[in-house]
Structure formats: structure tokens, C-alpha cells
Amino acid sequence: MNAFQIAFTAIFALQALVAVRRFLGTHHLASLVFALAWLLAIVLVNAPELTTDAARLLGIGRGVDLVTYALLSLFLWAHYQHYLRYKRLENQLTVLVRELAILNAARPGPAAAPGPRGA
């Protein structure tokens, strides 16, 4: 075991522990998925030949490349999902602002003196 493996195994193990604790507390499935992902990371760091074997199987030269591609796709997908959610939130915010504006519409009356903001 080299220094890199020792350090990263420690970090990932800690992360996995935190995720497991969170899962036990909240029973959120996402925490369990994260815990499993950290455990997988520990395995891959300590047995790099596993990713190399998988890469060969797919016709990619090195295991590190496979991991890079996988992470890149995952990141792009996650980013796009966030973008969609952001757009949805923006539209919802607009609807909210719109309803507020309509509810509080000032109606034409005798030319009113300019009041303070928000009056």
C-alpha cells in the first residue's frame, strides 16, 4: 500500500462513515447511495487493476481514463439536471411574483399623490 492509497482510503472511509450515519438518521436513500459510492472508491483506489480490466473490456487503454470518462459524463448529466431544476424554479418564481403583483394591483382612481414605496 503506497502513501496515496493510505491517504485516500482514510478520506473515503470517513466520508462513507458520515454517509452511513446520515442514512441511519434520515433513511434517505441518497445517503445510502453516497455511502456505496465511497466504498466503491475505496475498492478502486486499492485495486486499480480492476478499473484497468474494465477499461480493456470496453476497449479503453487505461483504467484511469475509464474513471475520467465516467466521472465526466456523470458530472455533465448532474449539471444539466441542475440547470433544468434551476429553470423550473425560475419559472415558478416568476409565477409567484406575477400572482403577487396581480393581487396587489393599484387600481386607477383619482390621480393619487405618489406614496412611499410599498404603500
Binding site: Y83, L93, T94, V97, R98
Partner: protein
């Protein structure tokens, strides 16, 4: 054909014009069968809005100003002029403000909805020309066209941008429009109900063509004057802006 001319009884003569106190004002009293609401989206337009409202006060129609979260006195100006004044608590963009005004006008029972820019580019005196074909049921939407009139002093650079926008509109929707992103429009109640702008910012002007097409609305282009001045050009759309509008539009299309 949608419900053009609903509520014929509510004629223009019903509107109380006594609250308009402009001595030199000419009063345009068109025979429009129904209630007309003029929607004016405004963002930091304070002083320019004042003149626009004076101009619009010569028409007998209801005016709805939607203040899009301005930092200046836009909202107070509108309130002081005795028009419907709505305020977005947070700035949401021109498209959002337009839709707010349209939704409000529909709930107030509008038969015809006019969209009118707050920066003084449009002339209230030309409203009747735009209203006429919609009121007569010839079309559901009347779109202002600045190139048909020959009275608009369109700067050359602006011309290039507008013609590119026309081409883009044709390529994406197949609609052949003579002008693009002209904020002067008249919608019948049916048309306004069929349209819902989701592009909060500037891309709504392209989006509206998509929706006209999807809802199978009949539209006509009517010559209008656009007054260009240093003042109106200061805040208008620029070439550098159009790319960002293009991206807004395309991304909006993908994500809807």
C-alpha cells in the same frame, strides 16, 4: 377563430375620460366593440414613462403598467397617473412583465390587449390602425411593423440586427414576418388566452411567434412608426445583446 369581439355592449364611450386632464389632448375615440387594455411593461423608466402615459391618456382605454422591480420611481409615476399599476417584487424580465400585464388584463375582462413599450418608441395615435383588423375579426393578432410605414428612422445597425432576427424567426418557425421584436401588438382575448410567455427575459419576442403558430392564430402586420432617439436607443437591444437573446431562446426551447 377565437372569441374576437366579446362583450360588444361595453363600448369605448363607457370609459370616464374626465380623469384625463391634459388641456391640449386630442381624444381618439375609436369604435372598438369591447374593452381595451394597454399593457406597458416598464423597468427603470420613470421620466420616459411619464410621457408615454400622457400620450396613452389621449386614448379612452385602460392602461396597465407593470413595473418590473424598478429601482427608480416607475411605480409611483404609474400610480400618480391613475392607471392600473402592478409591481413585480423582484425583477423578472420584460417577457415576465408582459405576461403579468396580459394575465391581469384577461382577469379584468379585457376583450383586446395591446402591448406598448414604456420608452416612448410607439405612438398612441397609431393604436386605432392596429386595433381595427383585430376588432373587425380579420385576425387574432396585429403586429406592428416599422418597415412598412416608412416613417421610422431605423439606424442602419439596428436594421441589420432586425433583418437577421427576421431570418432567424423564419428559419425556426416558418413564419414570414416583416419586422421582429416590435413591442407594439394587439391581441384578441382569444389570442391572449392561447399565449403564455415562459421566456421571462428578452427572448419572449421570438417565443410569441412560436405560440402564434402553435395556437394557429391569424396575424396581420400593420405599419407603425418607431421613434428612434438618443434616449430610446440608450436602452434598446443591441447587436451584442442579440446573441445572448438567441441563447436564451434556444435554451428555453430545449428545456421546455
Amino acid at each position: 377563430m377565437r372569441s374576437v369581439g366579446r362583450g360588444v355592449a361595453a363600448g369605448a364611450a363607457e370609459v370616464d375620460v374626465s380623469r384625463y386632464t391634459f388641456p391640449s389632448a386630442t381624444l381618439y375615440m375609436p369604435a372598438v366593440p369591447g374593452r381595451v387594455f394597454i399593457v406597458v411593461p416598464a423597468y427603470n423608466e420613470g421620466q420616459r414613462l411619464l410621457r408615454v402615459l400622457d400620450d396613452l391618456a389621449r386614448t379612452p382605454h385602460a392602461v396597465v403598467v407593470v413595473d418590473d422591480g424598478s429601482r427608480d420611481d416607475t411605480f409611483e409615476v404609474a400610480r400618480g397617473r391613475g392607471v392600473y399599476a402592478l409591481r413585480h417584487t423582484i425583477n423578472r424580465g420584460q417577457g415576465a412583465a408582459l405576461q403579468t400585464g396580459i394575465s391581469f388584463a384577461l382577469r379584468e375582462g379585457a376583450d383586446f390587449i395591446v402591448t406598448f413599450d414604456a420608452d416612448g418608441q410607439h405612438l398612441a395615435s397609431e393604436l386605432d390602425q392596429l386595433l381595427a383588423p383585430v376588432a373587425a375579426g380579420q385576425c387574432d393578432v396585429a403586429l406592428g411593423n416599422r418597415f412598412l410605414s416608412g416613417t421610422s428612422n431605423v439606424p442602419p445597425m439596428r436594421k441589420v440586427v432586425l433583418h437577421l432576427a427576421r431570418l432567424f424567426t423564419f428559419l425556426t418557425t416558418g413564419i414570414r414576418v416583416g419586422d421582429c421584436h416590435n413591442g407594439y401588438r394587439v391581441l384578441s382575448r382569444g389570442a391572449a388566452s392561447a399565449i403564455y410567455l415562459k421566456q421571462d427575459r428578452m427572448a419572449h419576442a421570438s417565443e410569441i411567434y412560436d405560440q402564434i403558430l402553435r395556437a394557429k392564430l391569424r396575424f396581420l402586420e400593420v405599419p407603425v412608426t418607431i421613434r428612434y432617439s438618443d434616449e430610446t436607443l440608450a436602452k434598446g437591444q443591441r447587436l451584442s445583446n442579440s446573441l445572448s437573446v438567441l441563447f436564451q431562446y434556444l435554451f428555453g426551447k430545449i428545456t421546455q
